[in-house]
């Protein structure tokens, strides 16, 4: 305590030192002032000369953005010259007169004119202001030819993105757009390139997620300019690095075909090569023209896209999560087999419903299936069998099996907004809903309803894994700058081969057996036969009143309350090559709405083009012939660039 003194009474006692220190600081300040004087007064002329007469200007050269191709090298995103006209006030003198003169050569609207004049008055004299862009070559050439008499009007050529395939790959490839304030904020250290006016970056799809590779590195050009900002000569130039070209695994014709087959619906189709996980088609309908976004979309177009109930902007196959319905039954069956809680030959009695507590769970077939074993349960999609299995196995084991098959986790794809889906557990329900897991929840999950959700992409992964027994992972990028992306041999799933065999048998019967749910959608060509599973997932609960009144025909319901139609398949049965999943929102029954679409897409993939009629079952051949005779309605060809 002896050390503690009351400072207040004795004074701070820093006076002498403070004055000393301040003196030293003044010395430094003096040095700074001297340096200012030296730079700005003594040598001002020299620097003024350096600055005005012969100043070195460093300009960033935007790198060419990497191109995007499909698996065969068909261009999906390219760079096109953008012919534009800029005005520099410093050189033009009177901007109004310059615009008048320019107006005699190309058309300049009143709105355009006032926008330019406003921008010119706000910016410094030497900043170029864009007068017109996306000119066609003739207009541009006329301006260029007249440029000696048009002072301050400068024709420029830039690069801009163009999607030659238009809406065919809109969701996968995505689009670029002008850098927004939000884009800048998202990055800790924004690339100086982003500050260049009119620089474009990826906004969605692969364009966004592979931005880093596609963008490239800025080049630098050191130029000498005179006091008017006119370039005297280029001192040196470093071209920078163009962005990497990206080759996707997509197959453009197949992609187009899938879109055509889904036209008019809000649907998804995924085609995956089961041998290496390559995504050959990733179709989402309705689609849109990404070229509309490149220069900023008009409000009208934007609102049309936003208000469409079919949600054209959503990338349904990867961002959509749907109750998988009966396509989930393979998961439940495998979980039951693995737990040893069912023998394949064991039968369950289906009277059309089962009663749990005082609640009835109905089979889709009201009169019941009778005795049902595993194979028949998949073939005819008996719900009661799976109500029973779900009770035996319990949700935890079902979820664990689902995860092994790729459900309930985000597939690693270079796409934004990838749906995780939902594979519930007891703990999950406790946490999110605050109520305990009920037996009825398990029963619902047994037929892929209730809390269970999966994306079409996840269903395709599941199908590929069922077909191969390996942990197939989807891949969308084949190579960067022609260097193939390394891929690892997918590990074995660790599911016993005989279990998989029972499941595959059931899936094969579902399509090829006379009584299978998807028999009408089979492939007639035996060498290419397909295995699959239908699914119809309810969007609503059928009330007891409705059931009694007999309103459960989908056609009687408004569109948004109809069932989702699903179908997953792989083919050929003997040596699987492709897995396909098709989901049609509110499409009705999976067998009727989704399975034929999946079959057609599968045949197209297997044949690498339109399949011969002999591959189709006899019954549907007239319909196919008719469809081929009518011209394609969708997708639309890309809209021509406005001049």
């Amino acid at each position: 305590m002896a050390l503690i003194r009351d400072s207040d009474r004795q004074g701070a006692g820093i006076g002498r030192r403070a004055v000393l220190l301040f003196g030293a600081k003044l010395g430094v300040v003096g040095l700074l002032a001297w340096r200012m004087h030296q730079l700005q007064v003594e040598q001002a002329d020299r620097y003024r000369l350096l600055a005005d007469e012969n100043r070195i200007n460093i300009r960033l050269i935007p790198p060419a953005r990497g191109l995007i191709f499909d698996r065969s090298g068909r261009p999906l995103a390219v760079n096109r010259p953008n012919y534009r006209i800029v005005l520099i006030r410093e050189q033009a003198g009177d901007p109004e007169r310059a615009l008048d003169e320019l107006g005699r050569i190309i058309e300049i609207g009143d709105a355009q004119r006032s926008r330019v004049l406003k921008e010119v008055s706000q910016k410094s004299a030497f900043v170029p202001v864009t007068v017109a862009e996306r000119l066609d070559w003739e207009d541009f050439a006329r301006v260029a030819a007249n440029s000696p008499v048009l002072s301050g009007i400068i024709p420029e050529v830039g690069l801009t993105r163009f999607y030659p395939e238009g809406d065919a790959t809109a969701h996968v490839v995505g689009y670029v757009g002008p850098v927004s304030e939000r884009d800048l904020k998202r990055q800790a250290t924004p690339d100086p390139l982003l500050q260049i006016p009119r620089f474009q970056i990826g906004k969605t799809g692969v364009e966004r997620r592979l931005e880093r590779a596609l963008r490239g590195q800025a080049g630098i050009s050191r130029i000498e300019v005179n006091s008017l900002g006119r370039v005297m000569r280029e001192l040196d130039r470093n071209e920078g690095k163009a962005g990497q070209n990206v080759q996707l695994t997509l197959d453009l014709p197949l992609q187009r075909y899938a879109l055509t087959r889904l036209a008019g619906e809000a649907g998804s189709a995924v085609v995956m090569d089961v041998r290496d996980g390559s995504i050959l088609a990733l179709a989402s309908t309705p689609t849109f023209d990404p070229n509309l976004f490149v220069f900023g979309i008009s409000t009208e177009n934007w609102e049309n896209l936003l208000n469409d109930p079919h949600r054209p902007l959503a990338d349904k196959p990867v961002s959509g999560a749907y109750p998988p319905g009966s396509t989930f039954k393979m998961v439940v069956a495998l979980a039951a087999l693995e737990a040893g809680l069912v023998k394949p030959g064991e039968t369950v009695w289906c009277p059309g419903y089962i009663k749990i507590g005082n609640r009835r769970f109905h089979c889709w077939k009201r009169v019941g299936h009778g005795h049902v074993d595993l194979r028949r349960s998949l073939r005819e999609s008996c719900d009661v069998y799976y109500y029973e299995m779900a009770q035996r196995v319990g949700i935890e084991r079902i979820t664990a099996m689902a995860r092994r098959l790729g459900l309930g986790s985000r597939p690693p794809l270079p796409l934004p907004a990838i749906a995780e889906g939902l594979m519930p557990t007891k703990a999950w329900k406790e946490r999110v809903h605050g109520s305990p897991w009920l037996i009825g929840d398990s029963v619902n999950a047994g037929i892929g309803q209730g809390y269970v959700l999966a994306s079409p992409m996840q269903l395709a992964i599941m199908t590929a894994r069922l077909a191969t027994g390996r942990a197939i992972v989807p891949r969308l990028v084949q190579s960067f700058d022609d260097v193939p992306v390394a891929r690892a041999e997918p590990p074995d799933l660790g599911i016993p081969g005989e279990h998989l065999k029972y499941i595959r048998d059931g899936m094969r019967a579902a399509v090829n057996h006379r009584r299978g749910t998807a028999h009408a959608a089979r492939i007639a060509d035996r060498s290419l036969a397909m295995s699959g599973k239908t699914g119809t997932s309810q969007v609503r609960q059928i009330t007891e009143v409705e059931r009694r009144a007999g309103i459960f025909r989908n056609e009687d319901l408004p569109w948004e309350r109809r069932d989702h139609a699903l179908f997953v398949a792989y083919a050929p049965v003997s040596d699987p090559r492709y897995a396909v999943s098709v989901v049609i929102e509110h499409g009705g029954g999976g067998a009727r709405a989704a399975a034929p679409v999946a079959r057609d897409i599968m045949l197209y993939a297997l044949h690498g083009g339109p399949a011969p009629l002999s591959a189709y079952p006899e019954k549907v051949r007239p319909e196919i012939r008719k469809r081929r005779a009518t011209p394609e309605t969708s997708p639309r060809p890309p809209q021509r660039d406005r001049a």
Partner: protein
């Protein structure tokens, strides 16, 4: 806890404190920040977006924070010193463990709406704890070796933490700031002489280590030093900044090119034109007169702070005011020296003018402490 102490003499209370604010300092702060708004408006090509407006909002918040801090008795802040230091220290450790990586160096904690730089907080917290220490210590003992060791440790711990981030500029700023507080407190000059000698030895060793297996600095730091010594060695990289900024300044001449007329700062691509190199734009547009005026405003703040410190019989308040003034001095002196090619490029902002949230808020908080010391000084 009662903050009343009869020894304090007459200390204004309640709202009458407002009358005792150091309004001259407050006005000077507004003037300097105003220069900042103008320059940010100018470098954005005549637009409040994206910098100027946000800077105004931050300054508004900072100014309000200053007033609030000023209303609270300096004795409260004295008690808080140790806590402030420990808090800043743990944030520094936290940033080391989990800070987000920005500008190649781990310096920020992302609070979502705001990126906090704990090293900024530490600049003030270190001054606070040293002031507290020398307030507590008998002035007779300040030069005893054993009583010199404690503040040296208090300083070196955060300095080392900042150094490994790595942020050489801030580390040196902390070191110099702490040294100035110790100097004010009356530590014998022999220590400073010894430290200076040791400093030269360290610099010599560091330079010697370049290119060897025991290299002490990162390559980019060496590059900055090299570039400082010879800007033309790297005209496209860091040297480009110095070359271009001196040309821009020089071309401003005596009276400058006029507001918004600076060709150099906008024609040339200076990536940090709105942060560390903003002084360049000011000098080009307002010339020698403008640069000297801003320097004058800074010196005036310094003068008022030191006058307030000398007249303050409360040792804590006096040391705190002197220390904060010194930190402030270091900011603007190093930044200006750097821009004019007198010091290597070390990433120190021009206080209250450069665009940036952390530095601005911390600085205004610090001036809140200066005001508090001034308002509550024994009269």
């Amino acid at each position: 806890m009662s903050l009343y102490d009869p020894a304090e003499g007459r200390v204004p209370s309640g709202l009458s404190k407002i009358l005792h604010f150091h309004w001259a300092i407050a006005v000077l702060l507004v003037a300097i920040a105003g220069v900042g708004f103008l320059m940010l408006y100018s470098v954005a090509g005549g637009s409040l977006q994206p910098w100027s407006q946000r800077q105004m909002i931050r300054f508004g918040i900072g100014f309000a924070a200053m007033l609030v801090i000023a209303m609270i008795n300096i004795r409260f802040w004295r008690r808080l010193s140790v806590l402030a230091y420990l808090g800043a220290l743990s944030l520094l450790v936290a940033v080391e463990l989990m800070g987000s990586v920005g500008m190649g160096a781990q310096r920020w904690i992302d609070l979502g709406f705001f990126q906090l730089q704990p090293s900024e907080l530490m600049k003030i917290a270190l001054v606070m704890i040293l002031a507290r220490y020398y307030d507590w210590l008998d002035p007779e003992l300040v030069s005893r070796p054993i009583w010199v060791i404690a503040p040296v440790i208090l300083t070196l711990v955060p300095v080392v933490l900042v150094l490994v981030q790595p942020d050489l500029g801030t580390a040196l700023l902390l070191l110099a700031g702490a040294a100035m507080v110790m100097f004010l407190a009356g530590v014998s000059l022999w220590y400073f002489a010894a430290a200076a000698l040791a400093g030269f030895a360290v610099i010599f060793t560091v330079l010697l280590s370049h290119g060897t297996s025991w290299q002490l600095l990162r390559d980019y730091q060496f590059k900055r030093i090299e570039t400082f010594l010879d800007p033309s060695s790297d005209p496209l990289g860091a040297g480009y900044h110095i070359t271009q900024s001196t040309i821009a300044m020089g071309s401003g001449g005596l009276t400058g090119r006029g507001f918004m007329q600076g060709t150099q700062s906008r024609l040339n691509f200076l990536p940090e034109k709105h942060t560390d190199f903003i002084f360049t734009t000011l000098s080009e547009e307002f010339g020698f007169v403008g640069s000297l005026s801003l320097l004058g405003l800074y010196v005036l703040i310094l003068v008022f702070c030191i006058a307030s410190a000398i007249s303050n019989r409360n040792r804590y308040g006096a040391l705190l005011t002197g220390g904060i003034a010194s930190t402030f001095f270091l900011y603007f002196a190093i930044n200006m020296a750097m821009v004019m090619g007198l010091a290597p490029v070390v990433g120190v902002p021009l206080p209250l003018v450069s665009y940036g949230g952390s530095a601005m808020l911390v600085l205004m908080g610090a001036f809140g402490l200066v005001q508090s010391a001034h308002v509550h000084k024994p009269r």
